[in-house]
């Protein structure tokens, strides 16, 4: 009998445990806690006179794996400057989502989320619940730097304002004029081989085609190894040439959607247009004649880099060649801007919006000093802040040379077999964690290398006036995007590659269009984007 009793006892214990387990959701949604806490200075540093702590949940990107942000140059310096002690709660990217959900649900909400891969849908969801604070007023009052940026570039405010009128996050931005960074991978062409062929840098799609054909014939790499065009992914080529065929005219942020050239009050689903069809026909022709690397649909980065190092590519879309392949190979490349297509389009549409990420910094209801938190983040939208974030502290991580800020020698030429990135990550944290605003003056990556800057200058003339950020959507609209939208996007992408590779013949085009219509791509999905676009215009 004793045994039974103890068994019974055990069961009771379990049941209690189970009950506790079930209770996990009861997060302490604190009643509006604004304007409690300490006095916040509205201008100047420090932000608060008496030191306060702020727990921040953040993703720890792979590049920063070995370093503790709680004791690192930049954050130590910023703590001393602001009197706000950031208590970093760092999480491995592989477990980030689980940890974030646990943090949201466990009642141990951090004071802020920093670059935690919160999607727009998440912001709306938890913002609407009061877990994330609406920041509109706080930004107006305590974020002069961000406010100024938003006044200069209204698309920033539009991109972070949700259909409920609220702003729930402070974004990561790229200085609008820092085109080189917004371009990411850009087209390059081997100039030595051009000269050998007695050709000029192509200006039209036709000339580009002629070059690819000629260089294949010439085979400068020998043994038939020359690859006329190569890249890590076919999408780079598609996006580049989209400007030559008149699609994706407002950038790639809203998949398959651009502005209807016939009616500027309407968005267009361009993946079913004739222009897009012509684009695919052209690229298919290149692929079919083996002018595009035949394994481009399955190539791995390691393979691509090895081929590039062997100097096999006659043209490619990639990052700075000298930085990545070294002087000898890299210096052979010159940049190409936009190509003029058969219908006369000559735009360069492959560039990201200046809003890099919406949810860079999110303040939770647990935060007792939201004003201080907003000011803490706002600093990074200023010149000094951007400099601190991307360059660090003068004399510690960078120095002034000929009026320019450059990293110090122990970062540029680190001891032993440490790489530049590893040395950098010992003091600064921006690698893989783009935040605040990136300014060309205070940023030293492949994008500010001379070759890349020159490319950006060339391209500038062909960049469309407005590049849309990702629109914001209502909860109902998100549901359509997640179901119909996901299916349509997947189908379009798959068929794009099949048309290009020839796995599906372009004579099947009508079927393709019809299928998209059946899936609801042209009414339901387009309707969602149209609504979002109209709100975007109004904001």
């Amino acid at each position: 009998m004793k045994r039974r009793k103890s068994l019974l006892l055990l069961m009771v214990v379990f049941l209690i445990l189970a009950a506790c387990g079930g209770n996990e959701g009861a997060s302490k949604d604190k009643s509006e806690s604004e304007s409690t806490g300490v006095n916040v200075n509205t201008t100047g540093m420090p932000i608060v006179d008496e030191q306060i702590d702020m727990t921040i949940f953040a993703n720890k990107p792979a590049q920063n794996e070995d370093n503790d942000w709680n004791d690192i140059l930049i954050w130590n310096h910023y703590r001393d400057l602001t009197n706000i002690n950031a208590d970093w709660n760092l999480h491995h990217p592989d477990a980030l989502e689980e940890k974030r959900n646990l943090a949201l649900g466990s009642g141990e909400l951090p004071d802020a989320f920093y670059l935690s891969q919160l999607t727009n849908a998440d912001l709306l969801k938890y913002g609407g619940q009061g877990t994330f604070l609406p920041l509109n007023d706080l930004i107006d009052e305590y974020a002069p730097n961000l406010t100024e940026l938003m006044e200069n570039d209204p698309s920033i405010r539009k991109a972070i304002t949700f259909p409920d009128g609220n702003i729930y996050s402070m974004p990561s931005l790229i200085e609008e004029d820092f085109l080189s960074l917004r371009l990411s991978a850009r087209p390059w062409i081997n100039e030595d081989w051009l000269e050998e062929l007695d050709m000029d840098i192509p200006e039209t799609t036709g000339e580009f085609y002629e070059y690819l054909k000629a260089v294949k014939e010439l085979d400068p790499a020998g043994d038939g190894k020359t690859i006329p065009y190569g890249g890590t992914d076919i999408i780079e080529l598609v996006q580049w040439l989209s400007g030559s065929f008149g699609v994706m005219n407002h950038g790639p942020s809203n998949t398959n959607i651009d502005l209807d050239p016939a009616d500027p009050s309407k968005v267009r689903f361009y993946a079913t247009t004739d222009e897009y069809k012509q684009l695919l026909e052209f690229i298919h022709m290149l692929y079919d004649e083996s002018l595009i690397e035949q394994n481009i649909f399955s190539i791995e980065w390691g393979q691509f880099l090895a081929n590039a190092a062997d100097n096999l590519y006659a043209s490619m879309i990639f990052y700075d060649p000298i930085e990545l392949f070294g002087e000898e190979v890299g210096s052979q490349y010159n940049s190409v801007a936009a190509l003029e297509g058969p219908e006369g389009f000559k735009d360069y549409n492959k560039l990201s919006s200046s809003i890099w990420e919406t949810s860079s910094f999110v303040i939770t209801s647990e935060n007792e000093n939201p004003e201080a938190a907003v000011r803490w983040m706002d600093y990074f939208y200023s010149d000094e802040g951007a400099k601190l974030y991307y360059m660090g502290v003068e004399g510690e991580s960078y120095e002034e040379k000929d009026g320019e800020s450059v990293y110090m020698d122990h970062i540029l030429n680190p001891e032993g077999d440490m790489t530049f990135e590893q040395a950098l990550a010992k003091q600064l944290t921006w690698l893989g964690s783009i935040s605040g605003i990136i300014k060309a003056d205070f940023f030293q990556g492949g994008e500010t290398a001379p070759q890349s800057m020159e490319a950006a200058e060339k391209i500038e003339a062909f960049v469309p006036e407005e590049i849309w950020p990702r629109f914001t959507f209502t909860e109902d609209e998100n549901k359509v995007l997640e179901s119909t939208g996901a299916d349509v996007d997947k189908y379009v992408e798959e068929m794009r590659d099949k048309f290009i590779s020839g796995d599906v013949d372009l004579s099947e085009w009508d079927n393709y269009v019809e299928t998209i219509e059946q899936m609801g791509g042209l009414d339901e999905l387009l309707g969602v984007y149209q609504g979002a676009f109209e709100r975007y215009q109004e904001n």
Partner: protein
Amino acid sequence: MELQQEKKSLNKKSRTYAIKKSLLRNWQLYVFLLPALTYFFIFHYIPMYGVQIAFKDYFANLGISGSPWVGFEHFDRFFNSYYFWRLLKNTIILNAYGLLLFPLPIIFALSLNELRAGAFKKWSQTLTYAPHFISVVVVVGMLVAFLDPVTGLVNHAIRGLGFESISFLTSPDWFRHIYVWSGQWQTLGWSTIIYLAALAGVNPELHEAAKVDGATRLQRVLRINLPSIMPTIIILFILNMGNFMQIGFEKVLLMQNTLNSETSDIIQTFVYETGLLEGRYSFAAAIGLFESAINIVLLITVNQIARKVSENSLW
């Protein structure tokens, strides 16, 4: 002794009494069960309330219990997806193909078992077991290296024989073969282990008797060894059914590209792409539940069949 007396008086007593008696007499068996049942209760049954998330819209801040109900919305979305039938078909075919190779480790184990003990046996056993420890990332990396249309060894050989290169990696026709056979390469030796253990339990007397009757080696393998491990084979097959819908999707994901997705798109990769990446916990949970439902039906069906045709079954 006491036990014997109990046994004598057993049939006179009522059924409940018999049960009580049995419980008392075999109480130690229940003690044996206790640690495992406790473990399952705490670490599986207490968290089981999480299953409801499939019928809810998950709000992390409200917790699983506090999130609002949405009924079958996630299931509807999945079933109505344009890709539903393709996903289902690909998942089933890929698994069924893998299942076709179920006998291979058995054959290999029977073979290994017939080898004379010695260095060769030890080496072949250890070498075939080794691939199990190679991570899928590296396995796929090697597949890409071997099968690359330009630099790959296999295509070098194909061209050497005067044929055209085959783009194995982007071909929907080749995907399943590559996936399944590379998997077989990785697990063949590993899967034989359990059969080798079963073969260790074969009664040598049976072999002695068969030898006297003049049976050949092959006959003895087929008539003694194989039937002896049949129960193990059947149990493993049934248990396989319980995991039928779950594939190691990481490898599929790594091997997948837009050109082969016609056959490589499976439910798990779909969930990964459209679910977890966008934080749709509930959607993923709903699909998981759907898979479990298929698994459970398969498990019960196969178990019933096994019970009818052989004497072995799980229950």
